[in-house]
């Protein structure tokens, strides 16, 4: 009984962690290339959640197909906000980009509220469960976890095997060096931001596949916070570090939730949040550069 609980927990924790990791890669990518901290991160996740909801409830389109749709919308939003706002602020003091991305977040929240209203929503995607032998997992969670890993691997291949990916990597390492190699540094900035936003909006789909309830315009705040902790865990500037940071965070969150639920008289949800952040605080005290040293 205990072993099964543990195994089930690890598996669900890994799936959740993969989704969290995927949901943080965009934040790290944008920070790594542009040194811009996207405080509006969670609002873009929220946009992805609403895209899923609108496609599923409105048109009956599967959340799996909502992933590429959300990615495309994210790319477009990213390019739009890069050229209208971010580009002018790259050389400005950090506070300017913090305020700007914070405002973009509020703008997105209010626009979505105007269109969809502010009540909590959910959707009911019936895809059944799968028996993994040691535990039974809802298929939607399996899809979300596996989808996140696939996207992370695709991103890795894109970065390391394509010409555009190599340009972006070179800009991360030294933008002046990239320039003398003939890289269009301005375009690399714009597309990195767009790619980061695209990944983030797409992660909103994956998160609702894992947790298909509680979709509302202000759901992003909690995810922004988690993403920051995860990003710092994995080393702020590295999307892969972020992915592994997410795995660790998912395991801790999922594990502690189950443990607390066993204790009588304890409200597991609040305590889980508390414990996850406590553990992370301790890790950061011991290894301030992040668990993975920001490689």
């Amino acid at each position: 009984m205990f072993f099964e609980l543990l195994a089930g927990n690890l598996i669900q924790g890994v799936f959740l962690g993969a989704v969290y990791g995927m949901a943080t890669m965009g934040l790290s990518l944008i920070f790594g290339v542009l040194k811009v901290v996207n405080v509006g991160h969670g609002a873009f996740i929220m946009v992805g959640a609403f895209i899923t909801l609108a496609l599923f409830d409105g048109l009956g389109i599967s959340p799996i197909l909502a992933i590429p749709a959300a990615f495309g919308v994210g790319l477009a939003l990213g390019l739009f906000f890069y050229y209208t706002v971010i580009q002018r602020l790259i050389k400005a003091p950090e506070l300017a980009t913090l305020l700007a991305t914070f405002s973009i977040g509020i703008l997105l929240e209010e626009v979505i509220k105007l269109v969809f209203g502010s009540e909590f929503r959910g959707y009911n995607w019936v895809v059944g469960k799968i028996d993994l032998g040691i535990t039974v997992v809802p298929m939607s969670k399996l899809y979300a976890g596996v989808g996140s890993v696939v996207i992370a691997v695709l991103l890795y291949l894109w970065f390391n095997r394509t010409r555009a990916g190599s340009a972006m990597r070179s800009v991360v390492e030294d933008s002046e060096g990239a320039r003398v190699c003939g890289v269009n540094v301005g375009a690399a900035y714009a597309w990195s931001f767009a790619l980061g936003i695209g990944l983030t909006v797409a992660s909103g789909v994956l998160l609702t596949m894992f947790i298909p309830v509680g979709i509302n315009p202000y759901m992003g705040g909690g995810y922004t916070l988690k993403a920051f902790v995860i990003a710092v865990l994995g080393g702020l500037a590295s999307p892969y570090g972020a992915f592994f940071g997410g795995l660790v965070f998912g395991l801790i969150e999922n594990g502690s939730y189950t443990l607390f639920a066993l204790l009588p008289g304890v409200e597991p949800f609040a305590l889980t949040r508390f414990l996850s952040f406590m553990i992370l605080l301790v890790i950061l005290l011991i290894r301030p550069t992040g668990l993975l040293r920001g490689k």
Binding site: R169, E173, D174, R179, V180, C181, G186
Partner: protein, 235 residues
Amino acid sequence: MLDVKDLESGYGPMQVLWKPSLTVKKGNITSLLGPNGVGKSTLLETVFGSVPPWGGQVLYNGVDVTRVPTHKKVDMGLALVPEGKHLFPSMTVYENLAMGAYPKKAMPHREKNMQLVYALFPRLKERSEQAAGSLSGGEQQMVTISRALMTQPQLIMLDEPSQGLAPLLVREVFETIVKMKTDIGLTVLLIEQNADASLNSADYVYIMHEGTIKAEGTPEEIKGSSEIREAYLGI
């Protein structure tokens, strides 16, 4: 091959270039000499385009490229070895060189150019799998120069390539610059504070002071003029 006419630029409100003009002839090593802080690097960066020009003109093979973006200039065969190296520290030497072949026209010549720079700097071949950030200062300078050569340039502009190097390495760098001209057929624009070494390898010399060109001539003319030497070079 390169004509700079009355170029003006600076940083924020501060003007640094006060209309210097110079010409780089095809197949020559042209050297720009002058003490620290007179605007030599700013001149190269403005010609390249990473510092935006305020006024004046840059002609490359007779074409006005004053406001052509940097990546297009690299495609046109203009290479810059910037001050301060600007390598990709966590990439290997090989990956740094491969990044130099990023321009589409350089891609097909990648392996050939790789052999060429390994012949110029055999040490880089031994170090090819090492992270660039872990190399010594001299080796890093070799990578920076090699990476620029990988872009398949016609004109290479070097910003104080001998800065901070031990005397033996300084000689190696200058020998390499001469080889670029004689063996590869490149045109070179070389910035230096090291007056002796550049006077010995250059075909023509400009002397810069306070953001403009104060004197020019063949190395013999510069060496022969005690006025110029005393006023601007301190030798």
